[in-house]
Symmetry: C2
Subunit: 180 residues, 2 copies
DNA sequence: ATTAAATGCTATGGGGCCTAATTATATGGA
DNA sequence: TCCATATAATTAGGCCCCATAGCATTTAAT
């Protein structure tokens, strides 16, 4: 999580500018602003979800399962597919599911055709949890975006997609480093 | 961390719309897009920093110390102040500092006037670590933002501030929930 | 049949974060 | 002066998320 209560201002960067030719103050400030707002949002919703008894990670799993079951009439997903969609390793997903199963929010069934596989599905209690969260959850999101006019949303979405595309292109370059 | 490889599309929300009056599809999709891009950015830079031997948390501490020392001629900060600025509890900061001190990136001195206090400062090695990271780090950030024209950056910054302000206003409302 | 690949799991460990309790120090009345 | 209270830093213990490595089982490919 990124967090810096008081972001650096232009003055903080000034002494660094002569030293680093690659330093573009406006880029860095925008970058930090973005991360700060994102972190704040994430933290606020994490806290909110925690008050409802689920972590972000668990919530994502529940959402993925709900979507799958809505799309495919209750078919569920395998742990590896869940791991892929959630961007974690299979081992991590096993751990997440362990907790979710302990709390009876999901069930695991063995796959008919492929005996290596497991099928994960929401329990009724799991569905209820989500439906208990949704009204307030959606309302908060709507409220958060309420200040943005339609055209502002459009523009923000376009800009976000632009950054997203750029990231996808240079993802390896970005993440790799000294020892990467 | 928020991550969902494939974001929900309009169709995924359609069956929910009649059920939840508070659900504004465009808000939620924008919200998810924002979180996804933010998470991707954060993850990429986290990986990058890890390759340089520091975690996000540690990096923030080092940045806060550098800024303080540049602003106030090497005066350093107390652990409490660091915790406040980094948005963590003092106990968490103690843990972070323990690791940083073990790696000889920071030093702890006792405060002259108030013997409860400790003053934390970067060691030369700590400064060197940052200066070793910066050129490449700034270059990657500049590259990431390179596709955005000046006016786009301006607009993005304005929109981010708008969301940020909205969040600050309704922070308690946002984070609080069922049991909050 | 043999090898390769996929699946799910366990074990282990680290990072980050928390709460609660402890110790030391400071401060502001009564 | 003494006590209650507040603040500072730390320790202890624990949870969650996440990763890597290794393993057994099963399936697929040659």
């Amino acid at each position: 999580m990124f967090y810096m209560k008081e972001l650096p201002n232009e003055e903080d960067f000034r002494p660094l500018v002569p030293e680093y030719s690659s330093l573009d103050t406006s880029s860095v400030m925008l970058f930090y602003l973005f991360l700060q707002v994102g972190s704040d949002m994430l933290t606020a919703f994490e806290t909110y979800l925690a008050n409802h008894g689920v972590s972000q990670g668990r919530f994502i799993v529940l959402l993925l399962l709900l979507r799958s079951q809505m799309r495919n009439n209750g078919s569920g997903l395998s742990p590896s597919e869940l791991a892929r969609q959630a961007g974690v390793t299979r081992a991590t997903m096993t751990g997440l599911m362990k907790g979710l199963q302990r709390d009876e929010l999901i069930e695991r069934f063995s796959h008919d055709g492929d005996r290596r596989k497991v099928i994960v599905r929401l329990t009724p209690k799991g569905k209820e949890s989500l439906h208990a969260i949704f009204p307030d959850y959606y309302s908060r999101i709507a409220d958060l975006m309420n200040d943005l006019e339609d055209d502002e949303r459009e523009r923000l979405s376009k800009l976000l997609h632009k950054v997203k595309n750029k990231m996808n292109l240079s993802k390896q370059a970005l993440a790799s480093g000294a020892r990467g």
